[in-house]
Each structure stands twice: as C-alpha cells, then as structure tokens.
Symmetry: D2
Subunit: 341 residues, 4 copies
C-alpha cells in the first residue's frame, strides 16, 4: 500500500526523536521557560530577521488559529478569510466558539485578494449601519493555502498594505509554511513574511515535528498577556520543552528547509510524470499537494493500492483526488506510486 | 417631511399606552409571572390553535434570536440561514458571540428553499470529515423575510418536512409577522406556523407595541429552563407585565391583525399608484415594504421631503430605495407621499 | 394587601407616561440617535459635572452589567466583586456566559473594601504563577449595595485610588443610585461618582422609569465601538427614544432626586416606628430597604396582608424579611403597613 | 541540584519513547482512528471493567477539563467544585471562558463532601429565585486532589449517590490518578471509579507519558458528537496515534501502576525520614506530594541545592513547601535530597 493521503502520517524527523530520547530524563521547568525553548526562539528570530519577535509554542493548528484570532480581536470584530480558508471550513466552528464571525470573501486559487479585502472594508464603512454589523478586525490567510497555492511577494505586500491602511492586523496560518518557502518558484521568504505579517505561525506538525506550531508576534507586546490566553484556551503544553527541542532541531542546520525541499522534489517528480502520461492536474502544482483529475473507474482500482484524499467530483466520469508528499516521502514510494498510476 | 423609512418610528398603538396609563400604579410581581402575561399567553395560544405552547416575552429581535438559537443548539452546531438573513447580516455577530456559526445558504427572494437545505445537510453528512465541520443544528427563517417576501404554505411545509427528516428544529423570526399574516395573497395562517415551526416569535416592536416579542415554543419543555437562559442573556424584563399588557392588548379584539392590515393597505395604495405612474418596483410587493427603482436625481430631490431607506445601487443612474408602511401609517401621509413622488 | 416586596412593582412616574402619550405618534429615528436621547445625555452630563461623558441607554440591569463588563475586560481578565454582589449571585451567570470569572471578595455590610482589593491584587501578582490564574481586570461595586448600604466618600475614593494604582477601571452598578444619592447621611454626590468611577450606570427601572439604565463612560472613547457591543449583546432598544424620553424627564426639574427622596422618607417613617415598637433591624437602614427581624409566627400572620421579601433565616424562631419602599410608595401605604405590623 | 518541584519535569517512560522511535516512520491515519488508539482503548476498558466505555485521548489537563465540562453542561448550568479545585484556581478561567460559572464549596483536605454538595443543591432549589441563579449542573472532583489527598470509597460512593439523586453527572479529574490508585491505604480502584463517575480522565502527562489524558465516558453516547467538541476546542491531536501508543504502553504489563508505585515509595521514604528527623508535615502524605513545614532560614539554604514548590506561608518564621516525587524519581535522588534536608 502506498500512502499519499496527507502530510501528517508519520511521526517526526529522526533527529527530533533522537534528541528527545537523549534528553528524556533531564529535568526541565514546564510551560516553555526552559532553555530549549529559549534557544529555539532565538533561532527562529534569526531566521525571520526579526530580533524583537515574541515567540510562543502551541500544539496544533486549530488551537493556534483560535487562540491567536481571539487574542487579536475585540468582541465586535470578525476575521476576514477566503471562503475556502481552514478556519471557515474545517475547524468545527472554533472561531465562532470563541465569539467571532468569519467574514468570508471569494477565494482565487485558494487565496484572498488585496482588492477584495480593500473593497469589502471600504463598503463596510460606507454603510451607514455598519455598527449593526460585524466589523472587519483582522485578515487571515494561509500560505500555502488549502489549495496548495502560494501568494507572490507582490500579493502579500498588497495585502499587508491594505491591512495597515485599515489599521487591522494580518495573520498568516503557516501550517505548511516549510513547503511554501521551499517551493521552486516562490519569491516569498521567511523574513518577508515576518516583515509583512503582524502575526504568523510556522507549522511543525506537517513539516517534520511530532506536533507543534511556533507563533511569531512580530511586534512584541502587541498581544497583552498572551501566555494567559494560551493557558485559558487549553493550548499550553505542560512539558513545553518538548516543543522547544523540536523547533530548535528544525531550525538547526537548515533542517526545516531541507526536509521541506524533499516534499517539493517528490511532488514535482510525480507531477512531471503524471503530466507526461496525460493526466490532467487541476492546477500547476506549487507545493506538496497535487490535485489529479482521474477517471472514476481508474480511481476505484487505484484505491486498492494507494491511499489518497478525495477532493471533489469533477464530472460524471471523473473525480479530483489529492496526493500529498511530505518531509518523509521517499523516492522509492514515489516510484512505486507511479507504477500504480 | 414624510417618514417612510421603517416600521418602528412611532410608539405604540394608543390602546396599549392607554392601558399602561390606567394600570400604571398597580403593583405587579416582576419577571412575567403576573396576570397580564398569563392572559396574554392564553390569548396567543388560542390564536395559534396550540393550547400547550410555552410562551415567553422578550424585549427585542436580536436578543430574541440570539437567546433562542443558543438555547436550541448544542456547542458544535450552527444555524442554517439565508445569506440575507437578519442574523447573518445585521445583528453585529450576536449568534457568533453566543458561540455558533451561521451556515448561510443562497437566498431566493430572501427565502431559503427546502431543496437547498436538504441538499446541504445531505452533502454535509456525506463528507467523511463532517465531524471536523460545523453540524447543521437548526434552520432559521424570517417571515416576512428581509426582502418583504413571504413563504407559501407549500414552501413552509417543505421546510418543516426537511427539518423533521433531519431531526433539527425549524425556527421562524416573526419580527414583522403581523404584516405577513395580513398580506393579501398569503395562504399561511398563524396556526399553520405553530404547526410547522418548533419555535417562532410574534413581533411586537414593529407591529404596534412599544417593544416586545412573544416567543412561542410549540412543544412545551423542548428547551429546559429557558427562563434562566433568558435571564442570563440579559433578555428578561424586570417589569414583565409591561410585555403582558402589550401582547394582551394586541391579541384582544383582533387588534394585531387589524393594525397589520392597515400597513398592507397603505403599501398597496402606494404600490398601485407608483406602478401606474411608471415606477419600477424591484418585485411585486407582498407585505409592507416597497423597493422602488428611482433615478438618482429624482432621489436627491425626494430626500428633501421624504425619509426613506437606501437599499442598493441599481445602476449608474438608478438606486433602489425602500419605503415601509406600518400599523401607524395614515392615509393622509400616503397621499402626501404620492404628491412628492 | 400592602406591597413592600421590591422597588419595581409599579410602572413609571406619571410625568414619564404622560410624555410618552403626548409624543407617541411622533416619528423618531431608532437606536438612540433621536433628540430626546441627545437632550437626556446633555442633562445627565450636567448633573454629573462631566461635560465629556459618553452616555448610552440600555434596558435592564443584568444586561447592562454583562455588556459593560465584557466591554471592559480582556479575555484573560475577571471582575472583582463582593461575594454578595448582584453579578456574583443573581444574574444567572451572565458574566461567565460572557467568558469572565467573578473574583469574589468578602463583603462588609455588602461592600468591598479598598484594603481587600489592594491586598488581593498585590497577592495575585506576588504569585509566581499568576499567569495561570484569572487576572483582576476591573472592580465592580454597587451603590447602594445589595444590602441597601452606601459607600462613604472616603471609601469610594480609596477604591478609586486602588483601581488607578493598579491600572484597572472601577465600575459602579447604580441600579438604585437615586436612593443612594437621596439618603440622609451620605456624603457621596453624583459628580463624586463621575469623578471616581470610570464607568457607572444610573438606574431607571427601580427609580421611576418603566425600564432603562443610563451608562456613563466618564472618559469618552474608553470603550471602542461600544454601540456595536450593545447591539451584539441584544441590549440595543430599537425605539431608543423611549429611553431618551424617560431619562430626559427624570433629569428635568430634579425629578430623579425628588422621587428618590420619597422612598427614603417613607423608609425612615417605617424604620423609626418599628424601632420605637421594639422591632430589631438588621442594620441601621441607609436607603430604601429595611431588613427586619421578625418572629416566625408573626411573619406567617403578616404574610396574609403584606407582600415582603424573604431575606434569610435569623434563628430558629426568627426570620429576616426585607421591606422596600420606592418612588411610588405613598404615605397611606406606610400608615396601613404600620397598622399591620 | 535536586529537583522535587513537580511531577512533570521529565519526558516519558523509556518504553514509550522506544516504541515511538520504532514506529516513527509507519504511516497512520490521524485523529485517533488508528490501531494504537483502538488497542489502548480496549486495554483501558478492561482495566476499568467497563466494556462499553467511550474513550477519547486529549493532550493536556486544562484542555480536558474545559472540553468535558462544556460538553456536559447546559448554558445556564455551572460546575460544583472545591474552592481549592484546579478549575477554580489554576486554569486561567478556562471554564468561565467556556461560559460556565464554577460554583465553589469549601474544601476539606482538598476534598468536596457529599453533605455539602447535597445541602448546596437542596438550598439552591429551595430558593424561590433559583432560576435567576446558576444551576448546579455537575460535580467536579480531583483524585488525588490538589492537596495530594484521596477520597475513600465511602466518600466517593456518597458523592456519586448525591449526584444521581440530583440527576447531575460526577466528573473526576485524574491528572495524577496513577498516584491515587497506587497509594498504600486507598480502597478506591479503577473499576470503582468507572462505576461511580459518569466521566473521568486518566492522567498521562504527570504519570509517565510525554503528554496526554484519556477521557473515559462510562456510558457511551452520553455526550453527543464529543469528537466535534474536542476538535472545536482545539484539543484534537492531528497525530492521534501518538496518544494511542502512549496509553497502550502504559496499560500493557501493568506499567501505569508500576511506575505510579515508584512515586509512592519514594514519597514514603522521604516522609518517614523527615518525620523521624522532627520535620512537621502539613498532613500525613497519601500520594506523591509532601507538604513540609520548614523554617524560613533553612528554606533559603535549601533553595541553593533543591528545587521545590512554594506552597504557602505557615507563620512568620515558617513556610510550607511542596516536594513531589514521580514515576521518574530515583532512589539516589531521594538519598541526595535527604542529605540536604
């Protein structure tokens, strides 16, 4: 059986587990005040070219989004997101559970456009009754998006610019950030993100860690007593050093980028071969997710030997399936997959 | 100046105020356990042909929607509503503030279709990952809708049927219910509504009361300890008998229907005359709201002598404005308005 | 039957109802932007000697407390209150429903002491783990308190001072504020309250209005977009001018103070006579509430002709009952009551 | 330096880490539907003598408490807990953040008494105004408590009995459950707990796991769609099998009990020796926490070589410090500690 269903099917990069093993019986203070966390924070600040950044480690993505968004919004504000955004679709209402509306705008290849955001906010305040509606209080984007696509630097700058113009923060969900940064044709770097976003997170769960996401608040003090908010939302790991060790390892010797690169390389291998064989891809793949149009009959057969994700119906005879590579995908798996396709 | 901006610009029907005046120095127990409330409840039950109904009086519409919806939903559930629904647009996020997502579906003349609801719920449970998403926990409709339109009995029966099929309650926002019931061509009666909805409210604020909405829970005990939820949400009026007096008066001698009829008659007068004069209405008016397409220049002039609502831009030279009649609109106001148009 | 159960058993002062009657068919814009509200605000500002104050009219007390407290707190903060405070006991969890803990401190005759508050906050921040606990984010007091007692000016200044020292706002629940201001031996005036509290409300429901509470934010802009928060919490009255008319009337010709004085005078009459007859009062009454220790047998008999509130068991043979006078209590009612006691 | 500050200073029991290492590159489905979770659930059911129990794995304690409590309560209900309960003190308001009040009762050695609970609920419903207050909706206890004490079987049965009498669930926070079960003089077994509690959790974080708590719902279906609530609260671990592996290991070959026994043995060693040397303990230790009364001067000196927790001031010259052993405490650490004391 070949597994290309998602990018969180394996444990952690071996270097992480080895280090956990090695340090297992050390005694560390809890809640992220240990030296591993301190060092990891320092390395992330360097990688971001953002020496002042405030960094917190949380456990998972939904939790991180809900905690950050609640912390950034006033009670009467909502968060602007693409209609396809993770917070709008697949977080079981975590944002609303925190009291806030997701103000969804149309997605363009999974992305929000600065123009749409600007128009939405302008129209909002042009309405005489705006105080009876949910005020746009921040912008949420993901990079890569749910569709595996990437913002260009120009797009990101435009979004950042619109946010600053309207005095609301820009927040980036980086669950798969490594794959975005390692993409072949991207012009967006980690320092660009740190410069253009007010808050973002560097995903660990899907990029080599057992679990964990590193929230970067680029302007320290922007969120008062964020630690308490993390605790209150149940997002504070008691053994915080486990997060420190993981991110310290990922940001040592460029490991985060290297293993991300692997996912990109493997995805490209598959994409190239599929296209040569006449398969249609829903879009030119940019990161580690491929959306393949496949005949229903062929899909049935494939499901005997390959685990993939159902994406959507294409037409009566075709379906779009998603194949995801990851830091852990080996070339032999890809070869095997290609035999089966 | 002529005022046709909304249907809540005057106080209350004189009979209500007179009765308040007369009973002003009586001493009543608070919180709705007085005899006025008891009698009003009994009259509403009779009007609904629903002798078992549980009835609570709240102060305003947003408050009522938020309180009822919170009380009906489990934490992981959301409320299905038309994209144009009041809870989705003009309640400042009251539903999300209570922890729940509004699951918006396309509106058809302001209405939800049973087919759309059924398809949405079927698709939802067909998704293998449905437990990661917000479960549809109830359906919200308004009658009349935000567009002044009405459900037919067949449409309402279809919606009720879909809700029962999926074991979720149907809730109707009746902020303008009187105008819906008094409409000329409706085949929906109050007993129909009580039969087909699990919970609904009879609007007072816009139909002759100073303020107040009567929530009808058609199956008693359906919401456990609803009184405490009302109190907790700040929706419990201390001097509850003020609501009892108002609804008792409105449901005595058919007053609620009579004064609603006036709004309909006045709206028809205006509509007929406007159409004769060649004005275009956005839709054939069904209740007390008229949406008139008007040249921008003409509109500018009109605004000197008539207060109306801006509805939306129609094209570069035209705008849609809303004119609303009410229980309080007098024939001489209409005559005056028509002179000005 | 004589009714001394509470101070909200009658409608409104006749001047209010008469004015509502007179203005009933006027056409006013909704949501508090009418001229009655504007004038009422101006009069309240003058009465407070606080020309800059921002004033909002809400409908009831629980609603007002929940809305203001939510608006003032950050997510990780709680509100300090006396253990006997209304928000801690009789609001069905409205504060917690808004996401915040009530941090209760011991009451002294129903009051919070500045020393206790200071010690609590100092101890809180002295705890190394304070970020794992609920931060004290504001102080809630009521004046008069639940026990009918009053803060002295010195006590109020001390509380204000402690709050400013710790950079948290002081909020006063003035549900019965009139009775506090009209008390014989108080040295606290309305301008004192406006000077010492960051936010407070002037109660209407229990002091001559049909309903309504006037929130005074002494520093304008302190709560951003409070209007939207009011709307979101369902606390915005559509026909806002009804609140304007009531408060404008109450603050014209000193009516608010005059009618409050009546409640005090009537309470004193009762207290004096009772004490002469050998009844024990739980404390020397300060405002319009008397807590009378009464033999159980006597109480049983009394209940046939007087409606009072049960307060608490005193000992096996005695009970404490509460008698409340109000703006509406007439001398003949008091005479009648005294005959029965 | 000797570390006796808490019971979560080390990683995981080596068998857990070894197994994670061995299975690291296996491909598993996410969110707890893998075979490790299935097997762990089966073993826990067996250990509980509760073949029907529904079991969910969450990451940490605060998160687990907040998620379970929210899932069990209706909006108007609160949770009864000892004043010293973790949810009332050290979870940064997580319960209130979920909308519910903690109804605190006096603690007796950290425990709730059935009598107090019964009286509280009886008094509550005896109050005519109970619907204006927060209804008691469930009971929260921890075993061991915050004070390291244990309920006897009789006490637990009494609590369970009171809860059933009042038709509310009994929930046990078992963050340190292993240490409770392994205590020398306890008569409470895991099957007892499963029989007497409606919901409880078996703590992993403090008892040998890297992280993780196993929620046991003893009557399946009691909480509808709990999975979605877990997801919504951000408490769903993507790589759920990591929790499965940990609990499967802990419940294989009696490991959970064995390592818990170690903490008890080490605590006894310390307690015995301290008492022989004339140290006063705040109470006879029952589990892995010792509360030692120590002279302030001595404490200052000790802090150079031992990491302990400050518990509370005892008198002007003495302080109570807490020493905690754990599954990971070695005899040589204890010997070293005793040298220093």
């Amino acid at each position: 059986m070949q597994y290309f269903e998602s990018d969180y099917m394996e444990g952690a990069h071996p270097r992480i587990l080895e280090r956990m093993m090695r340090t297992n019986m050390e005694k560390n203070p809890g809640y992220g005040v240990d030296t591993y966390c301190t060092e990891a924070r320092e390395k992330i600040r360097k990688a971001c070219h953002c020496p002042e950044a405030e960094i917190h480690f949380l456990v998972g993505g939904t939790q991180t989004n809900a905690t950050v968004i609640t912390a950034l919004l006033r009670p009467y504000e909502g968060v602007i997101a693409a209609e396809s955004g993770h917070i709008n679709q697949h977080e079981a209402g975590a944002i609303e559970c925190g009291g806030h509306k997701v103000l969804s705008l149309p997605q363009h290849d999974g992305k929000l456009s600065a123009e749409d955001v600007d128009k939405f906010i302008n129209d909002f305040y042009a309405d005489l009754n705006y105080e009876h509606m949910v005020s746009p209080g921040m912008v949420y984007i993901s990079h890569p998006t749910e569709h595996g696509t990437l913002y260009t630097l120009a797009e990101l700058e435009a979004l950042s610019c619109v946010c600053h113009k309207h005095h609301i923060p820009l927040y980036m969900d980086g669950a798969r950030l490594g794959y975005g940064l390692a993409a072949r044709n991207t012009d967006v770097t980690l320092p660009d993100i740190a410069r253009l976003c007010d808050v973002f997170y560097i995903g660990g769960t899907k990029v080599g860690a057992l679990f964990g996401e590193a929230v970067v608040i680029t302007r320290p003090g922007m969120i008062k007593q964020f630690f308490s908010i993390i605790k209150q939302r149940g997002a504070l790991l008691a053994k915080g050093w486990l997060l420190g060790i993981q991110f310290d390892t990922l940001f040592t010797d460029n490991l985060y980028m290297q293993i991300s690169q692997n996912a990109i390389d493997m995805a490209e291998l598959i994409a190239q071969e599929l296209q040569e064989r006449g398969y249609r891809l829903l879009a030119q793949p940019q990161t580690n997710q491929l959306f393949v149009v496949i005949e229903n009959e062929k899909m049935q057969e494939l499901s005997k030997s390959v685990v993939y994700s159902f994406w959507e119906k294409y037409d009566d005879n075709h379906t779009v399936i998603r194949l995801a590579t990851s830091w852990a995908t080996r070339k032999e798996d890809v070869v095997e997959l290609l035999k089966l396709l």
